[in-house]
């Protein structure tokens, strides 16, 4: 099964700073996805990057993908208190079953 493991487990920054989270996976993928989860809620899809892409932007989000290292990073620029959440990555391939990591817990302090 595809897998995502996030690093660091927890991150605390000040509002306005950038936040970088990393993700590793073990098998070949067709795309890699990042999600956000606010406390006690469902996950929200943020961005999808395909295996033939190296970088993708969406608003304040920047995602990179290095398939040779089986890793991805999510950069949130100019963070806001509302970005406080857990962030998950998951690599998707031909297998419908995905294995999710424990996420990175981001705290943005006002």
């Amino acid at each position: 099964s595809q897998q995502g493991e996030e690093d660091p487990q927890a991150l605390s920054i000040q509002e306005g700073e950038n936040a970088t989270m990393n993700c590793s996976y073990k098998t070949s993928i067709n795309n890699l996805q990042w999600y956000r989860q606010n406390s006690g809620r469902g996950l929200v899809h943020l961005i999808l990057i395909r295996s033939n892409e190296r970088e993708k932007h969406s608003g304040r989000l920047r995602v990179t993908l290095d398939t040779s290292k089986k890793s991805s990073s999510l950069l949130i620029t100019a963070s806001r208190a509302a970005d406080t959440a857990s962030y998950f990555c998951v690599g998707a391939g031909n297998n419908r079953k995905l294995i999710w990591g424990l996420g990175t817990s981001l705290a943005v302090n006002p």
């Binding site: 996805q33 996950l43 899809h45 424990l102």
Partner: protein, 111 residues
């Protein structure tokens, strides 16, 4: 706005009760999933369905069953609820190579 709707946000049930968790999506997605999320364990797949009346076991199907009689609805059934099934349950749907759309979750407490 496309949605995955879970019927209850919070649910409290007694041990031994039969529990139904309902999930409805309005996106005509083929694939639907049920996860549970527990602290320190992350999201674990219980069951998924890739078509009407089709189902496949996930990683932790024991104690659960599912029903998919219509494309838009995927129900999770706890045949006889136990305290170790206290958890956050998340339903999701997807189509093709796109991302998942999750519901808001149901926090189930079994007492």
């Amino acid at each position: 706005d496309v949605k995955v709707t879970q019927s209850s946000r919070y649910l409290v049930k007694r041990t031994g009760e039969k529990v139904f968790l309902e999930c409805v999506q309005d996106m005509d997605h083929e694939n639907m999933f049920w996860y549970r999320q527990d602290p320190g364990l992350g999201l674990r797949l219980i069951y998924f369905s890739y078509d009407v009346k089709m189902k496949e076991k996930g990683d932790i199907p024991e104690g659960y069953s599912v029903s998919r009689e219509k494309k838009e609805r995927f129900s999770l059934i706890l045949e006889s609820a136990s305290t170790n099934q206290t958890s956050m349950y998340l339903c999701a749907s997807k189509t093709g190579g796109g991302g998942y759309t999750f519901g808001s979750g149901t926090r189930l407490t079994v007492v």
